[in-house]
């Protein structure tokens, strides 16, 4: 009942562990898979090892968290060793980042045989110069990066977009022009920040970071809704999904499946199986036979 298919990737349910949430090691990805996720996305990795920013890297706010981890990762060659240890119980998606189309293409080609799909992170709101959202806020660069990756690999290419643009549809179309197979909407929102009252200092060492959690759900939903209307690509919806009802909203808005991130902090790794059982109950009550039937209903 919960099975979905996106870019020919078959998933037993529509909940996917989002990039950047655990996922730095095979062990944590395998754990998410065993805990009921329909697919898993790795934490983003790039060419070289990267320590990320000093702590504090995360701070809680009303309705979520702000993080500026700074894309810490051991680099593609070390990460390949992690990918070798993936159990493959569910589809595996590698999230990659780079600062040029060539870098993206190189990393993608180093790992494409080890995963089922690639997700291009051109949307991190606190990445170092030239990476993340600085690419995804520019339609031309977006097209170039997607094109370069598509040229170098056969795997499906999913592009994760930032909501921090004037018109997300324009960027989604740019990704489509580059040959993207699917889109992930949205990366964390912002940047945002918090300042300590006692010391008048920003709490995060990077001063600002990306906001995630329930508070960004309405923005994410709107992005999914708008893009579904104007772009003919399947969408993985992400942003503040906490329970089965949230998933339904994203499906209605036009997402074919969803990614779950910050909810792992609130509800533990059990969040996947809990959301799935609540989604299944909703579908039974409403008489839906498949998840697909629900996709885009808010547009009718």
């Amino acid at each position: 009942m919960l099975e979905v298919e996106i870019c020919d990737i078959k998933m037993k349910n529509p909940t996917v562990l989002a990039a950047g949430v655990l996922g730095s090691t095979a062990a944590s990805l395998n754990w998410a898979a065993r805990s009921g996720a329909g697919a898993v996305v790795t934490k983003s990795f790039g060419m070289e090892p990267n320590k990320g920013y000093p702590n504090p890297t995360t701070v809680e706010v009303e309705g979520g968290i702000i993080n500026a981890i700074g894309l810490s990762n051991p680099g593609v060659e070390n990460f390949r060793k992690e990918l070798e240890k993936l159990e493959g119980k569910v589809p595996q998606i590698a999230s990659i980042y780079g600062s040029t189309p060539e870098e993206f293409a190189h990393i993608a080609s180093r790992v494409e045989n080890m995963v089922d799909a690639l997700e291009l992170n051109i949307s991190c709101p606190h990445a170092m110069e030239g990476c993340g959202a600085s690419i995804g806020q520019n339609p031309d660069l977006t097209t170039q990066v997607v094109k370069a990756v598509k040229k170098s690999v056969k795997s499906p290419v999913i592009v994760k977009l930032t909501p921090n643009v004037t018109d997300i549809v324009e960027i989604a179309q740019a990704a489509e022009d580059g040959g993207a197979d699917a889109l992930t909407l949205i990366n964390s929102l912002g940047p945002g920040m918090r300042i300590d009252l006692e010391t008048a200092r920003p709490v995060l060492s990077n001063r600002f970071g990306g906001m995630s959690g329930p508070a960004i759900k309405p923005v994410a939903l709107h992005c999914v809704y708008q893009v579904h209307q104007r772009v003919n690509l399947p969408i993985m919806g992400v942003g503040g999904i906490m329970n089965g009802n949230d998933v339904v909203e994203f499906l209605y808005a036009g997402a074919s499946c969803v990614q779950i991130g910050t909810a792992v902090m609130y509800r533990g790794m059990e969040v996947f199986s809990r959301i799935n059982s609540s989604l299944q109950k909703f579908m039974t009550d409403k008489g839906y036979q498949t998840v697909e039937e629900m996709v885009g209903l808010a547009h009718e």
């Binding site: 730095s24 090691t25 934490k43 890297t57 010391t199 709490v203």
Partner: protein, 264 residues
Amino acid sequence: MNFPQVIKINRIIEETPTVKTFIFPWEVTDETPGQFLMLWNFADEKPMSISIIDPVNDEIGVSVKMVGTFTKSLHKLQENDKLGLRGPYGNGFEIAGSRVLAVGGGIGMAPISAFTEEASRRGVEVDVVTAATTKGEILFQERLEITGANVLPTTDDGSHGFCGFATELAEKLIKNEDYDMMVVCGPEIMMKKLFAISNRYQLPGQFSLERYMKCALGICGQCCVDDVGWRICVEGPVLWTDQLKMVTEFGNYRRDSSGIKKTF
């Protein structure tokens, strides 16, 4: 809310030439020994085990060994200076059984001392091995003697108490005494040996692990351990022996801030 509270330091105790305990006013509710706080010095933030939980005077304390830039900056602080604290985080020690062996190596004595005080208050008989390289670095001996615990200092150089490693003394005690459980915190190499001893003598134990932490909220994944994937900041830092059996990296390697494996 997981936001640092900036608090004035009530008192600072110079425990040894390299260890200071910082005590903060704190409304003690359900803090448990073995849990940790994130300490923010306005330039960096690191996890520190709670070493004092005082519900009577509403105070909480952390003991800090000077090992690097961050801890050096903490050691320069004076009473009434401020630090940011958030937490407590993680699973602490469970107090179980009526006779317990507690072993702390070096600064690993911080959570062990909080445990010993709480367990003693609850009428549990505790033999506590406080291990250090030399006499001047022995931690919390007098403080723990007041609780009624049987304190057994041990030094590598034999300058105080038992001469040798904590592991040797612990094995002797386990052979001769009748314990229900052991609790351990210290260098991982020491814990690995004690883990083997706890298996050999079939004595259940709880071990407090240390891993590189960023968010401490269970979301960044930095402290996940192989092969189970558990987050040391949430599912740990204290793990029972039967859980620890599944942590294949225990005693072998850990990951640095970029996630690269470093062997012990």
